[in-house]
C-alpha cells in the first residue's frame, strides 16, 4: 500500500478523524477534512478502518446473563430481608448457620437438617396431594408421607405458613437436590411441589433451578410445562420459559403462545415468551 509519512496536516486533523468517519462534523469542517483526506492515502486508510470498527461495534450483540444470576440474587435478597426482619443479635447467629456452617457444629446441625428436610418434604407431599395435574406421575409419594410424622399435622393447619424461613428453605432445596439418587427419588416430586406452591417466589425460583439440575428425570420437563400454566409471578414465569427453552421442550409452545398474547402479563414476560416461542419453533 502506498503510505505517505504523517504530515503536520495529518496531526492537525487527527482529533477530527473519528467524527469525520462517522459523519458527525458540521458541513464546513467536513469539507475541510474531505479536502485533506482526498490527498492523503494514510488518512483515507484510517477513515476506512474507523468505519470498519464502528460497524463492528454496532454489530455486537448483547449477551444474555446466566439464569443462575437471577436465582443467586433472589437468594441474596431473601437473606437481606431476613436480616432486616431479625434483631441484631439473632442476625449474627443466623448468619453463621446460613453461610458457613462450622465443622465443629456439624453433628448438632444434622438433626436440624434432617428435621428440616422432613418439613419441606412434608409440605411438598401435602401440596402434591392437594394438586394433581392431569396425567402427572405422582408415584413415590406415599412412602414418604409415613415418615413425615407430627410436623405434617402442624403444616396441615396452615400450609401457607411453613415453619422455616424462606432463606432456610432455599438452602434446603439446594441440599436436597444434591442428594437425589435414582429416577424414582421422592425428593424430585417434593421439589416439584415446592416449585408450584411455595408461598415465596424466591424459594420457587430455587426449586426450579434445582430441578433443572435434575432434568434427566422425566418428571422435571412435565412439571415445568405444567407449572408455567399456574405461575403468576413474572420472575418464576421468566425462569420457567428460560428453562423450557434450554430443554428444547416443545410441549411448552401452546402456553408460550398464550402468555405472549396476554395483555395482563408484564411486557418483559410477553417478550420472553415470544422469544422462547421463536427458539422452540425453530428447533
Amino acid at each position: 500500500m502506498n503510505i505517505t509519512p504523517n504530515s503536520s496536516e495529518c496531526l492537525d486533523v487527527a482529533d477530527l478523524l473519528v467524527d469525520y468517519a462517522e459523519h458527525s462534523l458540521p458541513p464546513a469542517q467536513t469539507a475541510q477534512m474531505a479536502a485533506h483526506v482526498a490527498t492523503c492515502p494514510r488518512c483515507q486508510e484510517r477513515v476506512a478502518q474507523l468505519q470498519e470498527l464502528g460497524t463492528k461495534f454496532e454489530a455486537a450483540e448483547p449477551i444474555t446473563p446466566p439464569l443462575a444470576l437471577r436465582v443467586n440474587f433472589m437468594a441474596a435478597l431473601e437473606r437481606e430481608k431476613a436480616a432486616l426482619a431479625k434483631p441484631e443479635s439473632e442476625v449474627r447467629e443466623a448468619k453463621v448457620v446460613r453461610l458457613e456452617p462450622a465443622t465443629s457444629e456439624q453433628s448438632g446441625m444434622w438433626w436440624l437438617r434432617i428435621a428440616a428436610s422432613l418439613v419441606l418434604l412434608a409440605t411438598g407431599v401435602l401440596l402434591g396431594n392437594l394438586w394433581r395435574p392431569l396425567g402427572a406421575d405422582v408415584a413415590g409419594i406415599s412412602p414418604v408421607a409415613t415418615t413425615a410424622d407430627s410436623r405434617l399435622g402442624t403444616l396441615k393447619v396452615n400450609p401457607a405458613v411453613p415453619s422455616l424461613s424462606a432463606s432456610d428453605r432455599i438452602q434446603l432445596v439446594n441440599e436436597m437436590a444434591g442428594e437425589v439418587k435414582g429416577s424414582a427419588d421422592p425428593t424430585v416430586q417434593a421439589l416439584i411441589n415446592t416449585l408450584n406452591f411455595d408461598p415465596n417466589t424466591n424459594v420457587r425460583l430455587a426449586a426450579g433451578q434445582a430441578l433443572y439440575r435434575l432434568r434427566d428425570d422425566p418428571r422435571v420437563r412435565e412439571a415445568f410445562v405444567q407449572s408455567l400454566t399456574i405461575q403468576t409471578d413474572p420472575n418464576v414465569q421468566i425462569m420457567l420459559i428460560e428453562l423450557l427453552v434450554a430443554l428444547r421442550e416443545r410441549r411448552a409452545v401452546p402456553e408460550l403462545e398464550r402468555l405472549s398474547q396476554r395483555r395482563d402479563a408484564l411486557p418483559i414476560v410477553r417478550q420472553q415468551a415470544e422469544s422462547g416461542l421463536g427458539q422452540l419453533i425453530q428447533i
Binding site: 478502518q49 474507523l50 449477551i63 446473563p65 440474587f73
Partner: protein, 179 residues
C-alpha cells in the same frame, strides 16, 4: 400497569421495602452483566461481579442520594466492583507466574460462550490490550450507550474532554486492531 421510575424504586428500597429491588434487577441485570462481560471477557467472572454489584446495591442502599440518577449510581457501583476485581487480578498476576501464562493463553476460551461472542472475539482481544481507562470508556460509549455528558459525570471531567478521550481510545484501538 404503572411503571415506576428507577429512582422511585430505589427510594423505596432505601426505605427498606427491599422487594422493590426486583424490578431494578430486571432492568439492569442485562446491561450490567454485559458491561462487566465486555470489561473482563469472562462469563463466570461477569456473573460473580454482577452478583456483587446487586448485593452491594442492597447493602449500601443508604448511600444512594434520593433523586440521583439511578443508572449512573448503579454503573458507579459496577465500575468499583470491576476495579476491585482488576486490582486483585494484578496482585495475583505478579505473585503467580502460572496465572500470567494462563491469561496469555486465554484467547478463544474466554469467548466460547456464544456464537455472537465468537464473531466479536478479535475485537475484544484488541480491546483487552488497551489501557483500563481507554477500554472502559469505549465500553461505556460504544456498548452501553452512554453519552459523552454522562461519561464526563462519571469520570469527573468535561463532556469535551470525555469525547477527546473516547476518540483517542478508538484511535488506539484502531492501531492495535489493524496492525
Amino acid at each position: 400497569m404503572e411503571t415506576r421510575s428507577d429512582e422511585e424504586l430505589m427510594a423505596a428500597v432505601q426505605a427498606d421495602d427491599l422487594d422493590q429491588v426486583v424490578p431494578l434487577f430486571e432492568r439492569y441485570q442485562g446491561p450490567l452483566f454485559n458491561f462487566l462481560y465486555r470489561l473482563t471477557s469472562d462469563y463466570e467472572t461477569s456473573q460473580d461481579l454482577t452478583q456483587t454489584v446487586f448485593e452491594r446495591l442492597l447493602k449500601y442502599r443508604a448511600s444512594y442520594r434520593p433523586g440521583q440518577p439511578f443508572r449512573a449510581w448503579a454503573y458507579q457501583l459496577a465500575r468499583n466492583v470491576h476495579t476491585d476485581h482488576w486490582q486483585r487480578q494484578q496482585r495475583m498476576r505478579t505473585a503467580d507466574v502460572v496465572e500470567v501464562e494462563r491469561k496469555g493463553a486465554l484467547g478463544g476460551a474466554a469467548f466460547r460462550h456464544t456464537a455472537a461472542a465468537d464473531r466479536e472475539q478479535d475485537l475484544h482481544e484488541a480491546m483487552a490490550q488497551l489501557s483500563p481507562a481507554q477500554h472502559e470508556i469505549l465500553v461505556l460509549h460504544r456498548f452501553q450507550g452512554f453519552s459523552y455528558e454522562e461519561i464526563a459525570d462519571m469520570l469527573g471531567c468535561t463532556a469535551g474532554a470525555a469525547k477527546v478521550k473516547a476518540h483517542r481510545a478508538l484511535q488506539a484501538l484502531r492501531t492495535i486492531y489493524f496492525n
